[in-house]
Amino acid sequence: MSADSKAAASTEPAGVSPQVEPDEHPRSSPMSIHDMTVAYHRRPVLWDIDYNTPPGNLIAIVGPNGAGKSTLIKAVLNLVPTVSGQVSFFGEPYKKQRRRVGYVPQRSSVDWDFPVNALEVVTMGLYRSIGWFRPVTKKHRQAAMAALDRVGMADYAKRQISQLSGGQQQRVFLARALAQEADLYLMDEPFAGVDAATERAIVAVLRELKDAGRTAMVVHHDLQTVQEYFDEVVLLNMRLIASGPVGDVFTEENLRATYGGKLALLDRVGHRMTLSGGRQ
């Protein structure tokens, strides 16, 4: 399968692939993806991704629906299987660096009727450092409370989570990631469907993270705010179209390549691989 996908990937039209140069010292990079291909049910949805995250930056991942933005984040975190490729965090495999990587999933990924309050959700961000079988202590709850305060949600700590608005739920998720004290944050559409107050709160938190030398990669939908909120951008549409500083990469030409829908060939080849895979 792995050989197949590479062969197929190399049939991709040349020309539109200004890739990042391979980093000789990936240890300096919070996240380094080498030649990663991801498939759902044998159908490749991300082809040959090569990317090194520059440290201490706010990075937007931008692309049309179905471009594989969420898949990229899930794949590097081993939440979906990859067909090929290696990912390292701070120069080591994910398993060794979990502590330094924080993940903010999409809001719709959980059941908000679950019987917990906001504070308990934030405390979940600390479970990793608490460890198996150990109880949550007052110290942890205080840390969680501080994280809630950072996103302006301290007043809602005792609310059951279904009684929060969408934006408030998103801020709780963000606080949960903050409580982890990670060095690299991967956020899946934190701005989706949130109110203006939440958007401001998230942006403020992102800036704080950057000032503290942390890195955040954010799946982002709103092209209008990319330049205002982010330093770097990754343009994605089933493959890496371009990546780099917003000023250099966020150009009309690259955006057209990303959103132009000229990837029908990739999609068709992927589809064919699914069909023949089914017959095996």
Partner: protein
């Protein structure tokens, strides 16, 4: 005939309660994981597991390697068979779900019926001479547990077994509450925190299987399925925290065991015999426990303070009554305002000097008349022969409402390109939901507007 409750009845109820509570614990997580069907499935797939373990023991005996027939290790083997079958069910379901790309309940439906059929087939092929009483498997024999007691005591063996299971389950829960909570709520975060969701899942399945098999013996499979899911579902309707959900589920399970057994004794005396069914002198305890749990669930479904159907409609009615009252206050305020002013602004109730008939309220409908009565009792309105008059406290409440209304109109006019006749409807609805701090926020945002878009002055905060 009288209702008699002996110490034997207490032991029967205690055994049933322990079994029900031990099932309710894993049940909480099955319900929260939206896998309630899994309990149903596990109770069926335990059969092939037990039969396979039984046959294994039989062959061992035939081969002369083992001579245990009834003792503890034989029981442990049967337990082991059931647990393996349970884990196998969970595993096969996931495999089918992935490969077949069907939803989990479809995969489960296929797996457990097949495995159950396999169990029946095994019995038919190899163990047809073994006595298997369908009555006993389906409805359990909780009434007979008192005949199998520990030596020299009244304590039924089943009570000890189920008590131990409950204790083990509760200990596991205390140890792993954090892990269970996280893998149930957000498996992705659990994985990325190094807590394996699938490990926790399989442990939960194994624990559920052990619990089910232990409870089968005392209360039977139909009741086991009930006590696995229904107490947890009832608790889910009543609570907002995981701990309180667990405790309420335990309470419902334990309480309905006692209630059910009492009903089993009392129903013939209280209901059947007065109706002339004199031959019926007792009913099935397991069945009555299921009835009791069903009744409690239904009560929670109707009356749960936050999620109950009736509570919600009561809340809605109270809200609409509050709105009717507030509308009446608002109109009285506008009438006063109109009487004071000399410019002719149209007001909803019509001509200058118009009053509200205290016997009719606004429209004469029941709710309106009730509103007048309510506002009078609250001291917001005084009623004379012909008119309703605002009191000072009523005026200050009304003033806040009118202020909310006009501020909202001004706010809408600023932010939405609407014709001025579109503003009233929306403001009329929103005015009931603005509080002092929101009014202040709107006022600050609008930079202290003196008038609404229709040119009426916005009153100050009282």
């Amino acid at each position: 005939m009288e209702i008699t409750w002996t110490s034997l009845d207490t032991w029967i109820a205690v055994t049933a309660a322990l079994a029900a509570m031990s099932c309710a614990l894993p049940g909480v997580f099955l319900v929260l994981r939206r896998q309630s069907m899994l309990g149903d499935a596990l109770s069926h797939t335990a059969l092939p597991g037990i039969v396979a373990a039984f046959l294994f023991a039989h062959w061992m005996r035939v081969a002369g390697w083992w001579d245990e027939v009834e003792g503890g290790s034989f029981h442990a083997l049967l337990f082991g068979g059931a647990v393996l079958a349970g884990v196998l069910t969970a595993f096969l379901t996931e495999v089918i779900q992935k490969i077949g790309r069907v939803e989990s309940s479809a995969a489960l439906g296929v797996i457990y019926t097949s495995l159950f059929a396999l169990g029946l087939l095994l019995i038919r092929l190899f163990a047809d001479n073994v006595h298997l009483d369908a009555e006993c498997v389906l409805f359990g024999t909780v009434e007979t547990v008192v005949f199998n007691t520990l030596p020299d005591s009244d304590i039924p063996r089943a009570a000890v077994v189920n008590g131990c299971v409950l204790l083990v389950n509760f200990t596991l829960l205390l140890l792993c509450l954090k892990e269970l909570r996280l893998t149930t709520f957000d498996p992705a975060l659990a994985e990325s925190s190094g807590i394996s969701s699938s490990l926790v899942h399989y442990v939960l399945m194994a624990v559920t299987s052990v619990t089910l098999v232990a409870a089968f013996e005392s209360v039977g499979s139909i009741l086991v399925i009930t006590v696995l899911v229904a107490p947890a579902a009832t608790a889910f309707l009543l609570t907002e925290r995981l701990w309180s959900m667990i405790l309420v589920a335990l309470l419902v399970a334990g309480g309905s065991a006692f209630l059910g057994h009492w009903l089993a004794i009392a129903t013939p005396v209280l209901i059947f015999q007065p109706l002339g069914f004199t031959t019926v002198d007792d009913t099935n305890t397991a069945g009555m426990i299921a009835m009791a749990i069903g009744g409690l669930f239904f009560a929670a479904f109707l009356f749960s303070p936050k999620k109950g159907v009736i509570s919600q409609s009561v809340q809605r009615s109270l809200l609409s009554f509050r709105i009717v009252c507030e509308d009446l206050l608002g109109i009285l305020y506008r009438l006063e305002e109109f009487a004071r002013s000399d410019d002719a602004i149209r007001i909803p109730t019509g001509a200058p000097g118009a009053t509200i008939d205290p016997r009719k309220g606004l429209s004469g409908k029941l709710l309106d008349r009730l509103a007048v009565w309510r506002l009078t009792r609250q001291g917001y309105v005084e009623v004379t022969e012909t008119a309703c008059v605002l009191t000072d406290s009523g005026r200050s409440v009304a003033r806040q409402l009118v202020r909310s209304h006009r501020l909202w109109e001004a706010y809408m006019a600023k932010h939405f390109p609407l014709a001025s006749d579109h503003l009233h409807e929306m403001a009329h609805r929103v005015e009931h939901f603005l509080d002092g701090s929101l009014r202040e926020e709107i006022e600050t945002e609008l930079d202290g507007p003196g008038e609404d878009p229709h040119g009426r002055s916005i009153p100050d905060e009282p």
